[in-house]
Symmetry: C2
Subunit: 337 residues, 2 copies
């Protein structure tokens, strides 16, 4: 096993581990994740999350299972379970498709491990390529706004949208980052603020409902977000709240950019309406245990994602190109394939 390590994933001789993202920012606890059934649980409860990262993590878990001597039939079954762990992010299906395609050629555990490692390293390179493209968007001194977490905790590399922002800061073009807390699970408050603090990047946490007044007051020059699935026409799913933020950006004339690697593009999906949206436990909205604020019987709505139409996209930053909303609607993604 060739060691691999990212902000939230470790692949070493002694096994595969994930950083439990539900405990950040206060506690950094690493969990074993080699057994694919364990990884399914980690993915479901968001201990490991972020569209690109769950694809990489699932591939590594499958590879580890192969190293442990699992049969081809067991590996195919495990790939299916991993594939179904979350329905919206397409990267998970993409990674499982790559691994099962290899299995079908009769590949052994060494080849599976090499393939999983390749998926990991490719993700790092895709992040670098997105950042290279994305940094060119910024004029010097911009303040930007982001939603959820799309950084090193969401990928094997520097990130998608947050990666672009981080490199923009390092290039002297991004001055300040406003971070949407991202209810219900607060990935902005817990994860993005933690990543920015680690890197010494000035930032301010806001409730999701405050973004509108910052955009109105000219305090934000650009909005960047990740994506969990990009349909053929450029519509994309991302963390719930992204659509509303896109509307605010449009209303206030502020450029709005999803950032995603090619593994997030699903050409088989014609448009946003065809993207399945995961519904999660209502308790995430009303709170639970000692952290419950609404009455336990209060009904709640909890789609984990929403869909933003390409009409609201200024440009989509990919690893291989930057496409404007108009280019997306004119079939630009198919031409890139």
């Amino acid at each position: 096993v060739i060691p691999l390590e990212s902000l939230a994933l470790r692949w070493r001789d002694r096994g595969l581990e994930i950083l439990d993202q539900t405990l950040l920012p206060d506690r950094e606890v690493w969990l074993e994740a080699g057994d694919p059934r364990l990884m399914v649980q980690h993915i479901r409860r968001l201990a490991v999350r972020g569209a690109p990262l769950i694809g990489v993590a699932a591939a590594l878990a499958l590879a580890w299972y192969g190293e442990m001597g699992a049969s081809a039939a067991s590996l195919v079954e495990a790939a299916g379970e991993l594939r179904r762990a979350r329905p919206t992010a397409v990267n998970l299906m993409w990674a499982m498709d790559r691994m099962t395609a290899l299995l079908e050629t009769g590949a052994g555990s060494a080849e599976l491990s090499l393939e999983a490692a390749a998926i990991f390293r490719e993700d790092v390179a895709l992040c670098d390529a997105m950042a290279r493209h994305g940094v060119r968007l910024f004029a010097p001194g911009e303040t930007v706004l982001t939603h959820c977490n799309s950084g090193g905790l969401a990928t094997a590399g520097i990130g998608t949208a947050l990666g672009v922002i981080i490199r923009g800061f390092q290039a002297g073009r991004v001055r300040h980052v406003f971070v949407d807390e991202t209810r219900p699970l607060l990935q902005g408050a817990r994860l993005t603020a933690w990543e920015l603090a680690r890197l010494g990047i000035p930032h301010t946490l806001i409730t999701d409902s405050m973004a509108a007044i910052l955009l109105r007051d000219g305090r934000v020059q650009r909005v960047l977000v990740g994506a969990d699935r990009v349909a053929r026409n450029g519509d994309f799913a991302n963390k719930v709240g992204t659509y509303g933020l896109a509307v605010q950006a449009r209303y206030h004339g502020v450029p709005f950019h999803p950032v995603a690697p090619w593994s997030t593009v699903d050409l088989a999906c014609p448009d946003g309406q065809a993207i399945p949206i995961e519904q999660r436990d209502e308790a995430e909205v009303r709170g639970q245990g000692d952290h419950r604020w609404a009455a336990a019987a209060t009904p709640a709505f909890n789609p984990s994602f929403d869909v933003t139409p390409s009409e609201l996209v200024t440009s989509l930053v990919l690893d291989r190109a930057v496409l404007t909303g108009a280019e997306l609607r004119a079939g630009g993604l198919e031409q890139l394939a």
Copy 2:
């Protein structure tokens, strides 16, 4: 003392009490609030909140202080402290102006108590009048959306926006209510959902960031919100998140109505830019104690209110009239005075 009682306020022979709204929905604890300095603390920490209610509560606290034998000078000083307890809601200043004007005529404690009781009863009547006007807005079977809490916990009566919704339900015109949780302090989740459950009104709790997709999908026919101060031109301040919701309603073609009693109108305030916006503790955004999610050092932005321009108002429901956005901009409020 003539007993007065509302959902969150009790004025009896043995004193003045407020329901501690910070402990809802799980605990209903009543606190002594007769001493004006105690009432200032209750108002500051939002144990008693809602623009109309804090005006009524402050007037009763001042009256109680008079009943206890406070001198005119002490009463004037206490009125000043109450007046400054929160800066945005104008009802507090309006109620204190009424009480101090009476004091200046040499009024005694009995007259002060009668005046405070009159403010209480007028607020109940203003709520009824707003509801009477507001109910006419609804077509049968509407689903509505509201932000924060503007019901019986925010007034001495049935409420402002939520009062209209409650009477709309009772009249068979409102079928379902979506409730914005209203970060950071979750008044929607804690208070509005509690009020609706008490009354058996079907409702669904959402994160503030989910409102946009409900409006897009045609699942909400009307948005109603309260107001903490309405400027002469119809711009108004309300709980942070209201402006963004108004933008979403406009973008999706859904009618948007602030609802407020005349005591919330500040004709001395020319427009929204002149409304002072209270900035509250950053810890309300990042969490605190056992309920902290962001790192303790994370900088946060926490304006308690935002300003919505009258351009985004379909109509303003007052106790004395309903004015369209165009009527507001044409000086309709001054003509009503």
